[in-house]
Symmetry: C2
Subunit: 201 residues, 2 copies
Amino acid sequence: MSKGQLIVLSGPSGVGKSSIVKKVMERHPKLRFSVSATTREKRPGEVDGVSYYFVSREAFQTMVERDELLEHAEYVENCYGTPAKPIDEALDLGYDVLLDIEVQGAMQVMERRPEAVTIFIAAPSFAELERRLTGRGDTAPDKIRKRLETARREYTFAPRYDYLVISETGKVEEAADEVLSIIKAAHCRTENRIHYLKEEL
Amino acid sequence: MSKGQLIVLSGPSGVGKSSIVKKVMERHPKLRFSVSATTREKRPGEVDGVSYYFVSREAFQTMVERDELLEHAEYVENCYGTPAKPIDEALDLGYDVLLDIEVQGAMQVMERRPEAVTIFIAAPSFAELERRLTGRGDTAPDKIRKRLETARREYTFAPRYDYLVISETGKVEEAADEVLSIIKAAHCRTENRIHYLKEEL
């Protein structure tokens, strides 16, 4: 059995990333979603240990000190981090593992795991991203402004990702198709398969 | 409209490459198959201008001298070459173009078109490749031996390809799936899409 593939996915708030991830998870039988640890407050509908591990600032700090996180970052005044151990266990079992993390964290993973496949999800335009954030109707204007500022900063990191998927309005299925193809292609990379030819080479 | 993707496919005789290519062509609406020029004899069922452009040694030499070929090579005592012009025209029209060429030619294309996606199709094992070549029943033993020697030499080039697809017996559909995913992923590469973000960056 071959080892799983680590996939890093980033994209600004409002881009439709969670809908894309949902479709991808439905259609990929051996894909696990990495659960992050965070110090931010639980939102309605979120489940501890599924959406995130909701932890205190103190507990988070301890994980950082013990070097148990693959990456960690502060983002909109909260800490987020990715516990490394469950990911490595899943990869060894042949599962692909999807990390949905913001850009600072993604840069750390690229550094520590150069074999990871990295995907940036962008909106068709910035105006469209603004429309989507405003259209939600559940976010205060100053929060929207802050998210747009953050998005603009995040976009500057997009060129460092391997792949760019454009999340067109109403085309979640197409974006999911692209992410699934990127994952399948990653498994076919010569460095992941050259062992098949070891007898012949 | 974005430019098409150039795809280079190689693999030894007997590996099942033509069945895979056939499936890929059926399922990809905007894929064109590059027609090579060759000095080898036409086999039963082959059509000039479709299977190959069957040309004389002299005509082939003229194309080489005029630098009209993207690559050319001598292989089992015949010349093969890829006319560049129809490929560039198709790519500009947004068609993906598939080159089914042997390893010498592929190395030339990698050099001249570093943006090409390169795929090597291998058998699950060398013993299996021998079985497939023998099983055809239409090839003389010395030709089979020569093809196996050629295959062994071709395999040494496999590590230089971007992707390795294993052509498992009876699994043409799966191999075609992989090739199609590799092509779709290539379109998502950040360098091919970064223009979408040019306003934002």
